[in-house]
């Protein structure tokens, strides 16, 4: 029985345009903070900018991953999903987990003691991508990253001495949550998912633009 088509070439074009814009914003954030880091060698700036580099790669990988899942619908050519999807899910899992981890680590670094956190981050990223590779499922990756993010949120809100969560931290959490939402809709072809995807795309771009705009105020 044929699968009903709920996604067409228009959705592909929108997704492609969104990916280009998101990747450009991420790489611009990374590039424009280069000098400020070169001068200061401040670790917080290092992890902040590298998180956007990871997010840039993640969004590019997510696009390719979605392309493999929907190749038959979009191009009429069926790319062997069982070969391409696991190959792409490995870097997708690693880059995106590192993006989330570095972003949160750059902001919470001063509260964390010990130097093992970076090893833990890389270890978690490798573990999550390996599990997703083994299960051939980006939904498993989504679940594991959601658990990771929820754990960090609990730690932040449970930490003493912080009465109010700042707008910047809300932006960091939005970037992470919107990434998860974007991962969730990757490859889905159900009714109304195109519209949901566009909403997530626009929200993600708005958050990236806000960060870029804030950066531009400081870097001339």
């Amino acid at each position: 029985m044929a699968i009903p088509l709920f996604i067409g070439i228009d959705d592909f074009v929108v997704d492609f345009a969104f990916t280009i814009a998101a990747v450009v914003f991420c790489f611009l954030i990374y590039y424009r903070t280069r000098e400020i880091y070169r001068l200061s060698k401040y670790e917080g700036i290092k992890y902040f900018r590298e998180s956007f580099l990871f997010f840039g790669f993640s969004y590019a990988m997510r696009f390719l991953f979605g392309l493999v899942l929907l190749s038959r619908i979009v191009f009429g050519i069926k790319l062997p999903r069982e070969i391409f999807a696991p190959i792409l899910i490995l870097p997708l899992g690693y880059f995106s987990t590192m993006g989330i981890f570095y972003l949160l680590y750059s902001a919470l670094r001063n509260k964390l003691s010990g130097k093992n956190w970076l090893y833990i981050g890389h270890g978690l990223a490798i573990l999550l991508s390996a599990v997703s590779f083994a299960t051939r499922s980006h939904i498993i990756l989504l679940l594991l990253q959601s658990i990771l993010l929820a754990a960090v949120l609990v730690i932040v809100f449970a930490s003493k001495g912080r009465k109010k969560v700042s707008k910047t931290r809300i932006l960091y959490f939005l970037i992470s949550i919107l990434w998860l939402m974007n991962l969730w809709v990757a490859g889905l072809r159900r009714p109304f998912f195109s519209e949901i995807r566009v909403i997530f795309d626009l929200l993600s771009l708005a958050v990236f633009f806000t960060i870029y705009h804030k950066i531009s105020k400081w870097i001339r």
Binding site: T33, S40, Y42, G44, I45, S106, R109, R169, K214, W218
Partner: protein, 92 residues
């Protein structure tokens, strides 16, 4: 404004400002005195400044050693408040 690293940025800024205030030429010993750092701390910062090419040592004809700012050092002084503002804005 918090964290050891943040203080480090401030110390570097202060040392560079001292050199600039002395017409961009000062001997290491008075620089140590003006910086209000212990000898060991100063040696650590001084090596870092040389390694990062914020300052360079020049020796005159009589063999006396002076410290001067490089373009990168001047750039750091200029951008210091921006760096601090950036760190604050993004809570790094």
């Amino acid at each position: 404004m918090s964290g050891k690293k943040r203080d480090r940025l401030g110390v570097i800024y202060d040392i560079l400002k001292i050199i600039r205030a002395k017409n961009n030429s000062i001997k290491p010993t008075p620089l140590l005195r003006y910086s209000n750092l212990s000898s060991s701390s100063f040696a650590e910062y001084y090596s870092e400044l040389i390694a990062k090419e914020f300052v360079k040592e020049i020796t005159d004809k009589k063999g006396r050693k002076y410290v001067t700012l490089t373009d990168k050092g001047f750039n750091y002084i200029e951008k210091y408040s921006l760096i601090l503002g950036f760190i604050d804005e993004f809570e790094l």
